[in-house]
């Protein structure tokens, strides 16, 4: 089979033909019974030479093989969907028959579009996408470029590797120049500081006297404020002042506002005389000092805690009084790799769900970067270490200020208030302290002895202005070596190097020193087409096998999103890489390397549409437990679950159903699974009857299937069809008349979705989508299990109307369209898990599109079959698919 398909590729290419009947492509045909229906209803007006609107249905070929036929059928579909045809004065189509017709016609259009856009195996040259560009600079120069300014790559719902969506423009060229320059700046700066070692520790007990002083001074201000108020009131109470006091009181909304006018009251003292002397309104200051004592009990409680002479507690507060502990990295510390450490303990009274600490940068507005499970005790605190890379972007104070804080206490000001008030309600003081911190430190890791990144190693000229600049010959050689490395092993032409040398000289003449001129010159290399494009020379007449070097490049960009490393290049140069055994061994090596995250993360993210996770904020008032750290962890759960399968080569069907979950301490707490400590994601066995295990049990999937407040059964159902069952519903049709009959009615979700069945245009897809979505209703919009749901109507003013609420028990039972019935979520999951063949096929098609950078067409059917055949022998283990794909002629042919 494989041999045959390999042979087939070497025949000279024909002009891409439109014959859809070729190979195993399904025919985009409209079944006979629908044609009869259309004839019956449409031919009277749309037949013959005098057809209405010049549109003839009698000459419409039943099989779509050309763009022209596709457009004509699209018109029929459009007219039916919009309800424009049949016209109101003609007999309507039977609803069921119409739904079936629309279903089949829509399907035929999808097949036709796919067939007509089939690239027949041809892979068009493409530029590096954003993340490959970043990965390539990372590899070449050892720095991370900020690629956010480059235009986003994903378009029209395809993977970011699909070349036809990867454009280039003048603007973008200039961005590449600028980004290359920045990356070189950073790389040179890192190199210059390679030997630097720094360390700074903040002992948190240093905060204790400051907090004590702050509180004492506030108490003093309170006393002075009260005294001033008393004096003003005494003056106001004097009978001779009654008239003026009455006059002021007329417009004053409160006592505090009344006291603002103290100066009008004879005998009332100034706030300044009580020590309130600022540039602002001092009466307000005095009022506030006296009245704003809400936090005082909490502060006093803090200052009475034990072990404040050794450390500090993390509080829940509005920013001061240790609601976060910070450390400013000194401004003169260079870019490079750092380690942040903190020594921390959970207090005795800390409940399990509060034993987590967050680390991040920019205390006031920065989001949590990492979250850690605190298992250290007051007797035996633990040290947590976080690696951190500081770059030129960390220049401003805020971007150099590290923080640690308790998890879920400062995502948002509302959350802070809610958490504080909960504690206040419980104790009358404020939330108990859950975490104690001994110290927070940062240390710079010197990299002087480490091997240089390949780009810098290739230069081999002084990267400083202190040494004498290189001779013209040395420079020329350096530029040639750098270009060859940047171009992934392909040497540059001498003419190109000539021009680079000229550019360098131009800069030197203009007054640049060596290093600046070198940077400008190298930045041009990094904006050149041989760097930016993954090019494979070819002729129009014949397909050819890839060269070893090209194969190495395809392989490493597929599995790492980075250029080939030294070993791959070496094997390619020796001409060994294309030997099947060597290629398979290298594939394994790449798959086992940590850099495989350069494949797994972007692939999984796009394959499963995880983008949606960032479309909405989960409403913190409705779902207080779903904080930013939980969001980090639910996202990682998806990646770690796939990562585990990839690492251990376990069956892909574990993503449909599994008796384990891959979680960290945060998620164990969120899911209510006992006995999991620490930050590492690891497989944890599930108790019988758990709804977790597999994608359908993951928080991220259910959050994506909602809007942060309510679930969306349609989103969820469509996602399952697209991603798990490989039966994607066609894109939502245009121009379908909207139904408003049930608007504003108090109904259950299921009752509302019934509307979809009433009209054929909706029913044709929703009869497949909705039952699945409704079967997942036991998961709320934050991914937690529930048995009850409710719907709240709003008044005309947009406020919730307490009288208009309906609550119901969730009934997940249903049946797949033309398929088996299920009584609840568990049975639905069972039915889906039984379709692991469909899932594996969808996975294969996604891999093909991702790896080859073009849509998976019908002409890829033999390759899909090959991949499935090999993987099936190993229980659909993911690495088998990848091996089969890499071994295929499609992967190895230009």
């Amino acid at each position: 089979m494989k041999f045959a398909s390999t042979l087939a590729v070497w025949v000279p290419l024909l002009v891409p033909c439109l014959a859809l009947a070729a190979e195993s492509a399904p025919r985009a045909s409209i079944p006979q019974r629908h044609l009869a229906l259309l004839r019956e209803h449409c031919q009277k007006c749309h037949g013959g030479n005098l057809a209405e609107g010049m549109f003839r249905i009698d000459t419409l070929p039943p099989t779509i093989t050309t763009l022209e036929t596709a457009e004509r059928w699209q018109k029929v579909l459009g007219a039916l969907n919009s309800g424009e045809m049949p016209p109101a004065d003609e007999p309507p189509l039977n609803n069921q028959a119409k739904a079936d017709l629309l279903d089949d016609l829509t399907r035929a259009m999808v097949v036709a579009r796919k067939a007509l856009s089939d690239q027949h195996g041809e892979i068009t040259m493409r530029r590096l996408n954003r993340r490959e560009y970043r990965g390539t600079l990372q590899d070449l120069l050892g720095v991370e470029a900020n690629v956010n300014e480059l235009p986003a790559d994903a378009g029209a719902g395809a993977f970011d590797t699909v070349g036809s969506n990867l454009f280039m423009s003048g603007n973008q060229f200039e961005q590449y120049l600028a980004l290359g320059r920045e990356a070189l700046d950073e790389a040179f700066e890192r190199q210059a500081a390679a030997a630097e070692q720094r360390r700074l520790r903040y002992e948190t007990e240093n905060s204790t006297p400051l907090l004590a002083k702050l509180h004492a001074s506030d108490l003093d201000a309170k006393r002075r404020g009260e005294a001033w108020i008393k004096a003003v009131e005494a003056a106001a109470a004097k009978p001779e002042n009654a008239a003026i006091v009455a006059e002021i009181r007329k417009t004053a909304a409160s006592d505090a506002i009344f006291r603002r006018s103290w100066a009008k009251i004879p005998g009332a003292p100034s706030p300044e005389s009580f020590g309130f002397d600022t540039g602002e309104n001092n009466a307000d200051k005095a009022n506030r000092a006296a009245g704003n004592t809400f936090m005082h009990p909490y502060r006093e409680y803090y200052l009475k805690q034990p072990r404040l002479d050794e450390g500090a507690y993390l509080t829940i507060n509005n920013g001061d009084f240790n609601s976060w502990i910070t450390l400013l990295v000194p401004f003169n510390w260079p870019v490079g790799d750092y380690r942040v450490r903190f020594r921390v303990a959970a207090t005795e009274q800390a409940p399990p769900e509060r034993r987590f600490i967050e680390f991040g940068i920019h205390p006031r507005h920065g989001q949590v970067m990492t979250v850690h499970h605190v298992v250290g005790t007051m007797d035996n605190p633990q040290v947590i270490e976080v690696p951190l890379t500081l770059t030129r972007r960390h220049g401003e104070r805020d971007n150099r200020t590290l923080f640690i804080r308790e998890k879920g206490t400062a995502d948002h000001i509302d959350q802070q208030r809610r958490r504080f008030n909960e504690g206040m309600k419980r104790s009358g003081i404020g939330p108990e302290f859950a975490l104690w911190v001994d110290w927070l430190e940062i240390e710079r890791v010197p990299t002087a002895g480490d091997p240089l990144p390949p780009g810098l190693a290739a230069l081999d000229v002084p990267l400083t202005d202190k040494a004498p600049p290189p001779s013209p010959e040395e420079l020329r050689t350096a530029l040639a070596r750098f270009a060859e490395t940047a171009f992934r092993g392909q040497p540059a032409t001498p003419q190109f190097i000539d021009r680079l040398v000229k550019l360098y000289e131009l800069r030197r003449v203009a007054g640049d020193k060596h290093l600046a001129a070198l940077k400008e010159t190298l930045a041009v290399v990094l904006a050149s087409p041989r760097f930016l494009y993954l090019a494979e020379p070819a002729t129009d007449r014949q397909r050819r096998p890839l060269s070893d070097l090209e194969l190495a490049t395809r392989l490493s960009y597929f599995l790492w999103g980075m250029p080939p490393d030294r070993q791959l290049l070496e094997l390619a140069r020796r001409g060994d890489l294309r030997q099947p055994a060597v290629l398979a061994r290298e594939t394994e090596r790449l798959l086992k390397d940590p850099r495989v995250s350069g494949f797994a993360r972007p692939f999984v993210h796009q394959w499963l549409d995880l983008d949606r996770l960032d479309f909405f904020e989960v409403n913190g008032n409705l779902f207080p437990r779903f904080d930013d750290s939980v969001k980090l962890s639910v996202r990682r759960e998806v990646h770690e679950s796939f990562g585990l399968l990839l690492r251990d080569n376990k069956p892909l069907s574990n993503l449909l159903q599994a008796d384990y979950v891959v979680i960290d301490g945060v998620l164990a707490s969120y899911y209510g699974i006992a006995g999991v400590t620490g930050d590492e994601f690891r497989p944890v066995p599930l108790p019988a009857g758990s709804p977790r295990g597999g994608l359908l049990g993951m928080g991220a999937i259910h959050v994506m299937g909602g809007n942060g407040e309510q679930t969306s059964p349609v989103e969820r159902g469509a996602w399952v069809l697209r991603k798990l069952l490989n039966d994607p519903p066609p894109p939502a049709p245009a121009n379908v008349p909207q139904l408003a009959r049930l608007a504003g009615k108090l109904l259950t979700t299921r009752e509302r979705l019934v509307l979809h069945q009433e009209q054929a245009q909706c029913a044709s897809c929703h009869r497949k989508i909705d039952p699945i979505g409704l079967g997942l209703e036991n998961f709320d919009a934050a991914g937690q299990w529930r048995v009850e749901d409710s719907y709240q109507l709003l008044t005309t003013g947009g406020k919730p109307d307490p009288k208009l609420v309906k609550t119901w028990q969730i009934d997940a039972a249903g049946a797949l369209h033309d398929g088996p019935k299920f009584g609840d979520y568990f049975e639905l999951r069972q039915i889906i898990a039984a379709k692991s063949d469909s899932f594996a096929r969808g996975f294969s098609e996604a891999l093909i599109e991702y790896a080859l950078g073009r849509p998976c067409g019908f002409s890829d059917e033999p390759l899909v079959e090959d991949m499935l055949k090999r993987a099936r022998e190993r229980n659909f283990a993911p690495r088998e698919f990848i091996h089969a794909l890499i071994a295929s002629s499609a992967f190895q042919t230009k």
């Binding site: 423009s169 603007n171 050149s528 087409p529 909207q738």
Partner: protein
Amino acid sequence: MSTPTSRRVFLKSSTALVALPALESLVRGRAAAAPASTNPPPKRAIFLGFGWGVTESTWYPNIDQPGTNYDLPAGLQPLARHRADFTVVQGLWNKYSNEGHWGSTMWLTGANRYAQTGQSFHNSISADQVAAAQLGQQTRFPSLQLTGSDSAGGSGHGPGLSLAWDVRGKPIGGQSTPVEAFHKLFSSDSTPLEQQQALLAEKRSVLDTVLENAHDLKRGLNSSDNAKLDEYFEGIRDIETRLAKEEQWLGVPRPRPSLAEPKPGLVGREEIRLMYDLIVAALQTDSTRVITYRQPVSTLLTSLEIRVHPHDMSHYHTVLGEKLDASQRRDQAQSELLAGLIDRLKATREADGSRLFDHVALAYGSNIRTGHSLDNCPTLLAGGGAGIKLGHNLVVPKGTPLCNAWLTVLQGLGVSAEKHGDSTGVLKDLVG
């Protein structure tokens, strides 16, 4: 593809051809400060696109009240003071559009996504770029593309980098924040002239270097790869054209803006308002004559403190309630903003004392009507630049190409176009 040398020669000669305007236009370029010029004010075009369409029931005038005597619907109420100065056209669509979430991708192009065998995406030149090819020759920037700072998908725009697509149907990027746009238009360059010249020479030298590399790469490629590499050549060519233009404008100071540098970080309603201010400032200073703005919708909702997701909002039909409310408030806010822009266009005077508004053709709309409906695309035209009939509720036969409206506007602006997209002719009722 020519060699670098011959292409430079070509560019030089073509530059010579377009380089004529010199003094007069430069004087006019600073019209705000300059005394009245004898030339009539130039014509300008503004295209404002929003993604998710409008509220069907409260935005469109009643089609049974065509003409000038129609009841202004609630969604357009904020524009009441301008009702004699805009026309709503009903019945237009892009017949090839099938994507219910693409409010902007084909709005100004009318292209068929599937027009090319072997490709799943195709687009063609947008109306603004047709205008820019002609109106853009005498200004510092041939056209300006502004976009919202939010994600295009969330705002229902569909693929693309702005509303603009170039002559080959490739997306054109733009400025996504008021700060960026301000700097592009008004940041002055204090470098001495000789240094600026040297800098231009160096930039050309950089381009020659990468072109050398591109030609080397090109030699081995097959035809489809070559077509891909052409994007790179075109990109470089665009920069060369721009450098030629920069050379032509060397020593001409940037105009003084009529507004202060915007504060960073503004989103939603304030962002749109500022972008509108920048549009007026750009036209007033004659920095460009063609502007598109792909407006943010998702952040507009956030700034109105609406928590409904924008896509959800566009499906208000089934549940009404807060989604309908959000949709209507969105219409209100957008109409208020537009009314403010028209105010400023009217208040701004040309060198001859006439109103800027009278020399502008402004189009405001979306490829999406509401929900997934792509027929009767909301279309509001204003300004006197294209000589179209204003003050009307114009109802054209259902299924009239939206591109007929674009063609009418283009011809009205004096652009020599005979056809645009799938146009079948001009909208006679719009000019008659």
